[in-house]
């Protein structure tokens, strides 16, 4: 594990918990981390490519980790998405930074 790496816990759509290590120096967002570890089938996550325009990367934040505030486009997309809860976020809008150490999320169902 590199110094820049952070530990994340991601529960996939089948309820399986994955403890993974993600780099903070590659400008990756949470959706891309999920895709690179293939935690959800290709074509079911990150459909719009990360423009906050499809909500296929919606996840529920389970830990108290401090995350950047939602921007307007993320807020707007979540207001049209399904299965939305108070702790819903779009993975594509969460950049992986050292502050994310210990972040725990669960992927929302496919819709």
């Amino acid at each position: 594990m590199n110094q820049q790496d952070v530990n994340l816990k991601i529960t996939d759509r089948d309820g399986v918990l994955h403890e993974i290590v993600a780099p903070t120096d590659m400008a990756m967002n949470l959706m891309e981390v999920v895709r690179s570890y293939e935690l959800a089938p290709e074509g079911t996550i990150g459909i719009c490519g990360g423009m906050a325009m499809c909500a296929s990367c919606q996840c529920y934040v389970l830990s108290e980790t401090e995350l950047p505030e939602k921007q307007d486009d993320e807020e707007a997309m979540l207001s049209e998405a399904f299965y939305v809860k108070d702790n819903s976020r779009l993975g594509c809008q969460i950049q992986i930074t050292p502050e994310m150490e210990g972040l725990e999320v669960e992927l929302a169902p496919e819709s």
């Binding site: 293939e38 089938p41 290709e42 074509g43 079911t44 459909i47 719009c48 423009m51 325009m53 499809c54 296929s56 307007d72 486009d73 807020e75 707007a76 997309m77 207001s79 049209e80 399904f82 299965y83 819709s111």
Partner: protein, 353 residues
Amino acid sequence: MIKTDILIIGAGPTGLFAVFEAGLLKLKCHLIDALPQPGGQCSEIYPKKPIYDIPGFPEILADDLTQNLLEQCKQFEPGFTLGERAETIDKQEDGTFIVTTNKGTKHHAPIVAIAGGLGSFEPRKPLIHNINFFEDKGVEYFIKNPEKYRNKRVVISGGGDSALDWSIFLADIASEVTLIHRRNEFRGALDSVEKVQELKNSGKINLITPAEVTSIVGDRHVKAVVVTQAEHIEREFEIECDHFIPLFGLSPKLGPIANWGLEIEKNAIKVNNALDYQTNIPGIFAIGDINTYPGKLKLILCGFHEATLMCQAAYQILNPGKKYVLKYTTVSGIDGFDGSRKEAPKAVVKAIE
């Protein structure tokens, strides 16, 4: 029966560019797309977003790219079957294919090129327990013929461009338009939002926010929707209506293509990238985002390249044994199927006195 040389499934950028490349080889194309307009993701998901990695275009809006591709291939007169999804494929004894859509339109071609992106776009259905029962009984996810709503009471839900634009459009046609959204804020072009505000103020659109349709009432046809409003105290009430139109965008699904006997890996079709992007079924190619091979990149520019090589391979299949010499468009010009000709102006040779 529609007959063509190359039947392209998917009218996104890769499919449209294939029309151009095929045309240079004098091959005619017809395209099928589940969306009512060409452009694929570029027109459906992000028409107003810029793309920065189209060679030769430092920046181009997705919608403009679609328009340019249509302009570039128009002299090759592509045919379109839009708003229909390719459902089945039947290989004929002579090796050609018949592709039938969900509406029963039949297409006959010796070559099929699947340029289906992430699959065909299906409406995202809200989580209402009895919504399936009312489909085509007052619940519609697309507006195909606005006249259907003349003098009817319509409820639209959603918070994006299509919900706003259709509410505005139907305000003049329907007897009553109600727009329901989970938030007070809408995401759409500023003038659409302002127009809805105007129509709300003048009483032509009944706006209910923040609220959600949670159930549908009716026997054989929609009679009303149950709305749950969550501001301050939660309350539920019914709105009588003839139609309920949920507009929550579309999401792509691989769909029936998955059952065509093609080799599929991670929701994509495996192709031979060393040669021609053909699938495991000879005569069926897969190009653009829908295919996969070692090192695959889902980029529009890669789709263009794949489309070009696919057309060459198609030419060889259709003209066996014929020698083909690559010609540059600058040298040979372009002869359209419509009789038009484009060519480089001849150099001026003139003495300087």
